[in-house]
C-alpha cells in the first residue's frame, strides 16, 4: 500500500539511547529551528490595510444587473430560487405598469427580491440558472452585521446603480466558453456580448 505521506515514520517502542535521554541535543535542534523561523518572512497579511487580490471568478456578494438602458433584467421567473440548494432566494413577481418601461426590461418583474446571506453558500448556481443574465456573483464580500435580519438583502442592496459609471463590471466572469455557449439562438434575446452587459 502506498503511504499517504512521505514523512511517515514507523513508531517503535524502543528504549531511548543516551543521546536521546539527555534531551539537550534535541532541544538545541528545536531551538535552532525556532530561531530560524524568527527571522523568516512573515506570512501574515495585515488585512484592512493590505488586501489579497480576489480571483476574477470569486463568488461573493450578488448583483442584479440592469441592461444598457438601465432597466432591470430580472423577470422574476424564479429559476434562481429553484436552483438554489440552500433555499436562500425568495421573490415576489409583479406586472409592469405603463410608463415603467425604462425601469423594467420585460412585462414581468420582481417587486421583491431577497437573498438571505446567512443561508447562501455562494455556489453560483443562481448565476448559472438565470436565463436573462440578470444575477451575478461579484468579488465583493458580504459585510458582517450584529443581527440576523440584517443579512436578508433586498433589492436596495442587490440591484446595481442606475448611473452608467457605477455599474458593476462582470465581464471577467464571462469566460470565452460561456460567451460562446450563450451565442446559441435560444439566448438571442439577451444580446449576449459583453458590451451590452456592462453598458
Amino acid at each position: 500500500m502506498q503511504a499517504l505521506t512521505t514523512r511517515a515514520k514507523v513508531a517503535v517502542n524502543k528504549k531511548m539511547s543516551f543521546k536521546e535521554r539527555i534531551y539537550l541535543p534535541a532541544i538545541i535542534g528545536g531551538m535552532a529551528l525556532t530561531i530560524k523561523h524568527f527571522f523568516m518572512k512573515k506570512v501574515t497579511v495585515s488585512y484592512p490595510e493590505v488586501q489579497r487580490p480576489f480571483a476574477p471568478v470569486y463568488r461573493g456578494h450578488h448583483v442584479l444587473k440592469r441592461d444598457e438602458n438601465g432597466a432591470e433584467r430580472c423577470t422574476a421567473c424564479g429559476l434562481c430560487a429553484v436552483a438554489c440548494p440552500a433555499e436562500a432566494i425568495t421573490m415576489v413577481a409583479s406586472e409592469r405598469k405603463k410608463g415603467e418601461e425604462n425601469l423594467y426590461r420585460e412585462e414581468k418583474y420582481a417587486s421583491v427580491y431577497e437573498i438571505n446571506m446567512l443561508r447562501c453558500i455562494f455556489c453560483g448556481l443562481c448565476e448559472e440558472a438565470c436565463p436573462k443574465e440578470a444575477i451575478f456573483l461579484t468579488d465583493k464580500t458580504v459585510s458582517s452585521d450584529y443581527r440576523r435580519d440584517g443579512f436578508v438583502y433586498g433589492k436596495d442592496k442587490l440591484v446595481e446603480p442606475m448611473d452608467k459609471n457605477k455599474r458593476i463590471d462582470v465581464s471577467k466572469r464571462q469566460t470565452p466558453e460561456v460567451a460562446e455557449f450563450k451565442k446559441h439562438p435560444e439566448y438571442a434575446h439577451n444580446k449576449l456580448n459583453n458590451k451590452s452587459l456592462n453598458a
Binding site: I27, G30, M31, L33, T34, I35, H37, F38, M40, K41, K42, V43, T44, S46
Partner: protein, 344 residues
C-alpha cells in the same frame, strides 16, 4: 549612621527598582506575544499604538475592567491572600540584586543595590519558596479540583526543583566563598565569569529556574490545555492579572539572578582597560547587566515557544533522579578540582 540623605537615596533606589521591574514585566507580556508570533511566522500584536507598543496598557485596562468574581464556596480571605503573596514575593526578590557598581555624587559613594545582605543567595531562596504559598493558597482557596490539582503540581514541582537548585548553588558558593550577591558580582571581572568554572552547575540552575518560574516546559501548574489555567482557574480581573504579572516579574528577577551569578553581572570584558570615569563605567555596567537580562528573558520565551510541556512523571523523574544526583556530583567534582588546584 542613618541620615536623611541615606534614606532618600534608598527610597529613590527602591522606587526605581520597583518601577523598572513592573515596567519590564509589563513589556515582557508584549515581548512574549511578539516572540511567539515571530517564531510562528506571524507578526503579533500591532494594532494598539505604533507596532502595538500600547498593547500592555490595553491589556491592563482590560484586566481592571473585568468583573471581579469570588466564588461563594471559596475562602474569601485566602482567596485574596493568594495573589497578594505571589505578587509580593516576586517584587521583593529584586532587593539584593546589584544593578551596578556604585555612583559617586558629591564625594559620597552610592552603591546601586537596595540592600547588600551577606546571605543574599539564601534570601532569594527563602523568598522564592514563599512564592509557592501564593500559588498553593490560591489553588486551595478556590475550592475547585482543577485549581487544587494545579496548586499541588506547582508545590511539588517547586519543592523538588528547589533541592537541585540549592545544590547547584552550593557548588557556586564553594567556588566563590561567599553568599553575598555583591561580592559574587564583583569577583567576576574580565573573563572570570562563573559559567566558565561552573558550566554544569549553571545548566542545572537554569533548568531549575525554568521550573521555579513555572515556565514551559515545566508549566504544569498552569497547563492551559488540561487544567484550564490550573491554580488560577477561578480567578478573574486584577487578581488573575497579579498571578500572570508575578510570573513575568519572576522571570525578570531570575534572569537578573542568572546574569549576576553566572554571567558576570554588570561586568563586561575589556571595559576596565578603557580608563573611563567611575560613574560612566557604572552606568555602562547597568546597561551591560540589562543586556544580559534581556537576553535571558528572550531565552525563557525562546524555550517556551520551542518545547512542549513535560508529563508529570517525566518532570518528577528529571528532578529527583537526574538533576539532584547530577548536582551532588557537581558539588563533589567542584570540591575535588579545588583540592587538586589548592584553592582551599
Amino acid at each position: 549612621m542613618i541620615t536623611t540623605g541615606f534614606l532618600i537615596y534608598k527610597i529613590i533606589l527602591v522606587v526605581v527598582v520597583f518601577t523598572i521591574s513592573l515596567l519590564i514585566a509589563m513589556y515582557s507580556t508584549y515581548a512574549e506575544r511578539k516572540v511567539a508570533a515571530f517564531m510562528q511566522d506571524r507578526i503579533g500584536p500591532n494594532r494598539a499604538g505604533p507596532f502595538g507598543l500600547l498593547q500592555p496598557l490595553a491589556d491592563g485596562v482590560k484586566m481592571f475592567m473585568k468583573e471581579e468574581l469570588i466564588p461563594t464556596v471559596s475562602n474569601k480571605f485566602l482567596f485574596i491572600l493568594g495573589p497578594s503573596v505571589a505578587m509580593f514575593t516576586s517584587c521583593i526578590t529584586g532587593a539584593v540584586v546589584p544593578w551596578g557598581t556604585s555612583l559617586q555624587i558629591g564625594g559620597h559613594d552610592y552603591p546601586l543595590q537596595v540592600t547588600d545582605i551577606n546571605i543574599g543567595l539564601l534570601y532569594v531562596f527563602a523568598v522564592t519558596s514563599i512564592g509557592v504559598y501564593g500559588i498553593m493558597i490560591g489553588g486551595w482557596a478556590s475550592n475547585n479540583k482543577y485549581s487544587l490539582m494545579g496548586a499541588l503540581r506547582a508545590s511539588s514541582q517547586m519543592i523538588s526543583y528547589e533541592i537541585a537548585m540549592g545544590l547547584s548553588i552550593i557548588a557556586l558558593v564553594m567556588h566563590t566563598g561567599t553568599l553575598s550577591f555583591r561580592e559574587i558580582a564583583a569577583m567576576q571581572t574580565g573573563w572570570h565569569w562563573n559559567i566558565i568554572y561552573q558550566p554544569l552547575g549553571f545548566l542545572i540552575f537554569l533548568i531549575c529556574a525554568f521550573a521555579e518560574t513555572n515556565r514551559t516546559p515545566f508549566d504544569l501548574p498552569e497547563s492551559d490545555s488540561e487544567l484550564i489555567g490550573g491554580y488560577h482557574t477561578e480567578y478573574s480581573s486584577m487578581k488573575l492579572g497579579f498571578y500572570l504579572f508575578a510570573e513575568y516579574i519572576n522571570m525578570f528577577i531570575s534572569s537578573a539572578v542568572i546574569s549576576t551569578l553566572y554571567f558576570g553581572g554588570y561586568h563586561m570584558p575589556f571595559i576596565g582597560r578603557l580608563g573611563l570615569s567611575h560613574n560612566f563605567e557604572a552606568i555602562l555596567g547597568i546597561v551591560f547587566l540589562f543586556g544580559k537580562i534581556f537576553f535571558f528573558i528572550f531565552f525563557f520565551m525562546w524555550v517556551r515557544w520551542t518545547l512542549p510541556r513535560f508529563r508529570y512523571d517525566q518532570l518528577m523523574n528529571l528532578g529527583w533522579k537526574i538533576l539532584i544526583p547530577l548536582s551532588i556530583a557537581n558539588v563533589a567534582l567542584t570540591g575535588t578540582l579545588m583540592w587538586l588546584f589548592h584553592r582551599i
